[in-house]
């Protein structure tokens, strides 16, 4: 019953517009300052470690955001990082790319010499996973 093709859907259009108009945008649970999930914490910490400017959208306030985002991106989980309109991935992919230096390259920033985002992640959340859809 889902019509994936066209957009009688202002929320989906707004998400689509946000993805297009922000070079780097992260959809996450919570905010970079106060992430509400370990995956979102690690992903935003990696971006912060690279000092790459990014827009962040908290998907928690309205469950429809997540529904529409996942329908749009065809990606089931949160967080989701988009760069120049393209889905880069969720936490696993972003962390893998962060550690290999590919993320810095994609974002056009310097890879910092120091530790990866693990220190931040450790204090942000233990590796217990919270990913609920309802």
């Amino acid at each position: 019953m889902s019509d994936e093709t066209q957009t009688q859907n202002p929320l989906r259009d707004a998400i689509d517009d946000a993805i297009r108009s922000n070079e780097v945008i992260l959809f996450m649970k919570g905010t970079p300052e106060q992430p509400m999930c370990g995956f979102s914490a690690r992903t935003s910490a990696a971006l912060q470690a690279l000092e790459a400017p990014f827009a962040a959208v908290d998907i928690l306030p309205d469950p429809r955001i997540r529904q529409e985002l996942s329908a749009l991106s065809n990606w089931p989980t949160i967080p989701q990082l988009f760069v120049r309109g393209e889905l880069v991935g969720g936490c696993d992919i972003v962390m893998e790319m962060y550690e290999s230096g590919e993320l810095a390259q994609l974002l056009g920033v310097e890879q910092p010499g120091g530790e990866p985002a693990q220190a931040d992640a450790a204090q942000a959340a233990p590796l217990s996973i919270e990913n609920r859809l309802g």
Partner: protein
Amino acid sequence: MATTMATKEELKERIEAGIPGARAEVRGDDGHHFEAVVTAPAFAGLSRIAQHRLVYDVFGGELGGRIHALALQTKAE
């Protein structure tokens, strides 16, 4: 509606059945959170996104629902 708990054995079987030539190592014993390392010749030449999508597609809407989380690492052979 009764839903049975997911197991790592089930996930392994379904990934290996769903992706030709795939080998999966799956960890996770709580029935909800899993970690998988999947190797498949089908991944060759695909972006990570596309590789992960192939695995996600095996489970469709169950991810985020019955299977709360699947941490994924994919490798082409």
